[in-house]
């Protein structure tokens, strides 16, 4: 008997025609839309964080030593080579430096292509030499000091740690990332407000039925349960739909990103754990919706006397 009662409470209970309210379909749509926006925001934040991390990894553990050719003439190349060897000797084995590698001329020509154009390759123009220096992680090496010492030893040398551009980029990605996360927060807030309002709308639309249920002896939780189950169903539907659309969009963007020449920006692909975080979004939304609906109804009913 008791068991049957609970079955009744949690399975049946469709005395209020909530499903027929136009606001029902609406809630599905709006939750879906919010989950799409939220997923995209969250994915953007995660991707930008990756991009920033990628650039930081790519550049922060690395220095480029540039050695300029000194003069025209027959022995220019020899002098340059000599100075490169001196620089290598100076760098190799220094505390904090993991690996030192002089780039082949062809590689250098390739790197300089954006500045000098393809013709420079076959040209008489003496090219600078570039030495890639891999730092030990967390070495905390004093780059200005290193630069000074190297320049004293080998005139015409310079060190580029890409600091300014990296700062610029990281500031930018950081700002966009923060914005994306704020938008996500705003969206969750708006979703909660939406559920509060549609629940209140439901209470208002069905005020007569609710009064009747009270008059025939229904308890508050009997009524609240119907709203709560309804909010759960709708927000779950909307959330899943929104998530799927977002997933499709992200996957498509990933493909487009790979195909196009955006090269400079790392591929728009999410890791498994990032996909899992995204999958949590509709679940969290449903949970919030259900709890919000229950709280809203119980509070409103208590106020009705």
């Amino acid at each position: 008997m008791k068991g049957s009662r609970f079955r009744k409470l949690f399975l049946a209970g469709r005395d209020l025609p909530l499903g027929r309210d136009a606001s029902s379909r609406f809630l599905v749509w709006i939750i879906g839309f919010m989950v799409i926006l939220g997923s995209l925001s969250l994915a953007s934040a995660m991707l930008l964080s990756d991009v920033g991390q990628g650039w930081r990894d790519e550049l922060a553990g690395k220095l480029t030593v540039q050695i300029m050719p000194e003069a025209d003439g027959e022995d220019a190349a020899t002098t340059l080579d000599l100075r490169v060897r001196m620089a290598e000797q100076f760098l190799v084995g220094r505390p904090g430096i993991a690996r030192v590698e002089t780039l082949a001329d062809s590689r250098i020509a390739m790197l300089l292509e954006p500045w000098l154009g393809p013709q420079s390759r076959e040209d008489a123009l003496p090219m600078p030499k570039l030495i890639d220096v891999q730092l030990e992680p967390g070495s905390g090496i004093d780059i200005p000091d290193l630069t000074r010492r190297l320049a004293e030893l080998i005139p015409g040398s310079a060190i580029d740690d890409h600091g300014v551009w990296l700062t610029r980029l990281l500031t930018l990605t950081g700002a966009v990332e923060t914005t994306a996360l704020s938008i996500l927060g705003l969206i969750l807030l708006a979703a909660t407000a939406t559920v509060v309002f549609t629940t209140r709308a439901g209470l208002a639309i069905h005020d007569k039925e609710i009064e009747l249920l009270h008059l025939v002896g229904a308890e508050d939780h009997y009524i609240a349960h119907q709203f709560q189950a309804h909010a759960l169903t709708l927000s779950f539907k909307g959330g899943i739909a929104g998530s799927l659309v977002a997933a499709v969009a992200l996957t498509a963007l990933g493909f487009i990103g790979q195909g196009s020449a955006i090269g400079m920006i790392p591929p728009i692909t999410l890791s498994v754990s990032q996909w899992l975080v995204l999958a949590l979004l509709p679940l969290a939304t449903s949970l919030i919706a259900t709890l919000t609906a229950r709280l809203t109804v119980m509070r409103s009913l208590a106020r009705m006397s």
Binding site: K8, D15, P17, R20, L212, L215, V216, G217, A218
Partner: protein, 244 residues
């Protein structure tokens, strides 16, 4: 329940809606368990209002109301549902739930009380047959004629065998034949212990069933059954009817 006790007891009850005029004032009367009363009075006299106080939809502006021996002012909110389940109500405007079939509407009080689903539907269908709706068991209220809706409302009020049945103009939309039949049903219910109070304008009914009356006049109530000790059966009621 103590049969000697008053099911309903009003003591100096006054009632006004909001800041409006008093609908009635200093109303004092009691209705004994097992009695049957017609509640009469001109339109706007306060019949529906009096019933609303009894089915706990309103609180009086002043005075005390005891239902089943409990002071309604002190009943905790959480105990209200249980008390309401002891009262069956036929509303003047029916208040059927539009999207539920006649059967589901009638079953509502049982469902809300957590009744067993298997036993429920036979019981409900039988009652609907009793009020002449055997062909409309699965119809929605919007598909029913006015008189048919009224009969669904009556069935819903009696399905839970309430201790107290309150009916507000339950025969306004049916012809005299059906009105009589409904009254016989309520009389049966009364015989097995339910206290019945019916607000009505139907003079044919009042003169045929000579139950004592609660008569609202100038915001006061006169109980024509009070002097004879609230007889419950029709034979003694006829004496009371003559007395009025």
């Amino acid at each position: 329940m103590d049969r000697k006790k008053d099911v309903v007891r009003f003591q100096n009850v006054g009632m006004r809606y909001g800041l409006g005029p008093e609908v009635f004032h200093d109303m004092s009367f009691g209705v004994k368990a097992g009695s049957f009363r017609f509640l009469v009075g001109p339109s706007g006299a306060g019949k529906s209002t009096l019933l609303k106080l009894m089915y706990l939809a309103h609180r009086p502006s002043r005075g005390l109301i005891h239902m089943f021996g409990h002071d309604t002012a002190t009943v905790a909110r959480k105990d209200m549902p249980a008390m309401r389940r002891r009262i069956g109500v036929v509303f003047q405007d029916f208040r059927l739930i539009d999207h539920l079939s006649a059967l589901d509407n009638v079953a509502l009080p049982l469902r809300v009380a957590g009744a067993n689903e298997e036993q429920l539907s036979d019981h409900v269908a039988e009652l609907l047959r009793w009020v002449g709706l055997e062909n409309e068991i699965h119809s929605l209220p919007s598909r029913l004629s006015g008189g048919q809706q009224q009969r669904v409302a009556i069935a819903r009020a009696v399905i839970g065998r309430p201790d107290l049945l309150l009916a507000d103009e339950p025969t306004g939309n049916v012809d005299n034949t059906i009105a009589m039949r409904i009254l016989y049903l309520l009389e049966e219910l009364n015989k097995i212990g339910t206290t019945v109070i019916i607000a009505t304008h139907n003079e044919a009914l009042i003169s045929r069933f000579k139950f004592p009356q609660l008569r609202i006049e100038d915001g006061r109530v006169i109980d024509t059954g009070a002097e004879t000790g609230a007889p419950a059966s029709r034979t003694t009621n006829e004496a009371a009817g003559r007395g009025s």
